[in-house]
């Protein structure tokens, strides 16, 4: 699957993360300094980076800021978790942020979401439970059978699948569906979700669309 570079100075921790992500099917390279990270990035094309902020030969935030041109998405790990550090990290170009300590499942989920962002090299089929979505053809299959969806329904499920397990805010949905209709009312979004839900249920999809009233929607594998 994806090739991930782990930049973490604690060698045992780097090893554990590599093992954990390896079990998820990722190919991981672990380095312990920024200098080694530069070497690794010069020689190999990575799909994602897991970066610890406090490294022996420099600060991760400064390093991110110095990166120019296209680069893989970065998930920052930090032991600091001071609110200001979080903002500083995201400003410097981190794509997501995970404070230590974290569970492997958490790291894997966040990384999966990053790799699923559009435009990444990982722009392949999005899968959740027994459902698969091909962004290129906008085709949804449940357990191998194609599901008939309108363009708007397909766009909505793509949005939710790209952030599976995370809540997608209502405003984000309204903005990205705007192109299909002149005005997207909250009711229209809710109606589309209901139709999607019914279709998924009829097709026997092991996937749930949760409504977080007043906030947004979330797709999760059933029983997850």
């Amino acid at each position: 699957m994806a090739r991930v570079l782990i930049i973490e100075d604690n060698e045992r921790l780097a090893g554990l993360i590599a093992d954990g992500l390896g079990a998820q099917g990722h190919v991981c390279d672990a380095v312990h300094t920024l200098a080694a990270a530069e070497d690794a990035l010069a020689g190999t094309l990575f799909d994602g980076i897991v970066l610890d902020l406090g490294l022996p030969d420099g600060d991760g935030v400064d390093w991110m800021r110095a990166q120019h041109g296209p680069r893989p998405p970065i998930l920052v790990l930090t032991a600091r978790d001071a609110l200001e550090d979080r903002i500083r990290g995201l400003d410097a170009g981190a794509d997501d942020y995970l404070p230590k300590p974290f569970a492997m499942s958490e790291l894997a989920a966040r990384l999966r979401a990053l790799l699923r962002r559009p435009g990444g090299r990982q722009d392949a089929v999005l899968a959740l439970g027994n459902l698969a979505f091909d962004p290129a053809s906008q085709r949804v299959t449940v357990a191998g059978t194609t599901l008939e969806l309108t363009r708007r329904e397909a766009a909505l499920i793509e949005l939710l699948l790209r952030r599976a397990g995370q809540v997608v805010r209502r405003a984000v949905i309204e903005n990205s569906l705007y192109t299909f209709d002149e005005a997207v009312t909250p009711n229209a979004v809710e109606a589309t979700i209901s139709r999607l839900r019914r279709k998924l249920e009829e097709a026997g999809a092991a996937l749930e669309l949760h409504t977080i009233r007043g906030v947004g929607y979330m797709a999760r594998a059933r029983g997850a």
Partner: protein
């Protein structure tokens, strides 16, 4: 009961003594100059002359000098002490602040400067000690994170039936560390006087609920937000988010399985969290928010510490944490923003 010494009273007493002594001295001087002796005061003419001399040279000058002196003295003292009274009022007005309080000595009379400067030096030392203490707490929390991550990842690989319980323990330790760091952060922000910005409470609530909704669903609970119009307050977004997160986590614990925790915004800078638990009386709330002061961390999951943190954050915003048993709500009440748009 002895009254505390008063400069004005002391001045009045001193002037009375000076007046009395001066009058006595003048009487003697006049007596010598005019050779008035007590023996010929019986003479009517001599007596009248003596009275005349006395009133002209003693009583009149005394009255002319002592009265304005007494008044001028009182005025000088009152106005000299005025900056001290103003400074006291200013310090009292900042009762909510525990850090960075200093006596403003710009208008202080030179006589009071040394004392005020000494007090400021002590306050500076106390601030320094508190900052050191907080930095130490933050350092400990920071140092604990990497070993705790290792522990958590190693536990993830264990298939032992006890691993789940240990994962729960690690999660509780993590929560405690997060709260310690948050407390240190609130004080650091306060000390650094980071400028507050306009914040929409509904937007913050949406972010926090989006973060917590997966956890709530895992426990079979739902979260909902009721926010129609934007409600603006002046504050620190991250801190308000942390306060709300603590309240929601609290509500998730208090509600029965399958329950719903609802967050709503209200006009005038109000953010409320309603759960399906029994509600919290004002007395219970007061006890819970006092917890950290008594160093009582007896609660298994740091719930009490959570409410104490919420109270601290609200205090730093000039707001309050209130409870309504009937509505089963905990409310964050902010001072309303000057302008609502």
């Amino acid at each position: 009961m002895s009254r505390p010494p008063s400069i004005v009273r002391r001045l009045t007493a001193s002037l009375a003594w000076v007046g009395g002594l001066g009058a006595l001295l003048l009487l003697i001087v006049i007596g010598i100059e005019y050779r008035i002796s007590f023996s010929n005061l019986g003479d009517h003419d001599a007596f009248a002359r003596a009275i005349h001399e006395l009133s002209e040279h003693v009583l009149l000058p005394m009255a002319v000098l002592i009265l304005p002196m007494a008044l001028a003295g009182r005025w000088a003292i009152k106005s000299g002490v005025r900056p001290l009274i103003d400074a006291a009022a200013q310090i009292d007005a900042r009762a909510g602040e525990t850090r960075g309080v200093r006596v403003d000595t710009t208008d202080f009379p030179i006589e009071a400067r040394a004392f005020a400067d000494a007090i400021n030096r002590v306050l500076g030392r106390i601030d320094g000690a508190a900052a050191l203490h907080e930095a130490f707490a933050a350092d400990i929390a920071h140092e604990l994170r990497t070993p705790l991550t290792l522990l958590s990842l190693e536990l993830d690989r264990l298939e032992h039936p006890d691993a789940g319980r240990m994962r729960g323990d690690v999660a509780r330790m993590r929560r405690l560390i997060d709260q310690l760091m948050l407390l240190a952060q609130i004080d650091a922000d306060h000390a650094a006087q980071i400028a507050p910005t306009p914040v929409d409470l509904g937007d913050v609530a949406g972010d926090v609920i989006a973060q917590l909704a997966p956890i709530a669903l895992d426990r079979g609970m739902r979260l909902a937000l009721e926010a129609d119009a934007p409600v603006m307050v002046i504050g620190r977004r991250e801190a308000i988010g942390a306060a709300l997160r603590n309240l929601i986590e609290n509500a998730l614990r208090a509600s029965p399985a399958g329950g719903c925790v609802t967050v709503r915004t209200g006009a005038g800078g109000m953010l409320a969290v309603r759960d399906e638990g029994p509600g919290l009386s004002a007395q219970q709330l007061a006890t819970l928010t006092q917890r950290h002061r008594r160093a009582d961390h007896a609660s298994r999951d740091g719930a009490g510490l959570g409410l104490a943190i919420v109270e601290r954050i609200m205090r730093a915003h000039g707001g309050t944490l209130e409870t309504s048993v009937t509505a089963r709500e905990l409310r964050l009440q902010f001072p309303p923003a000057a302008s609502s748009d």
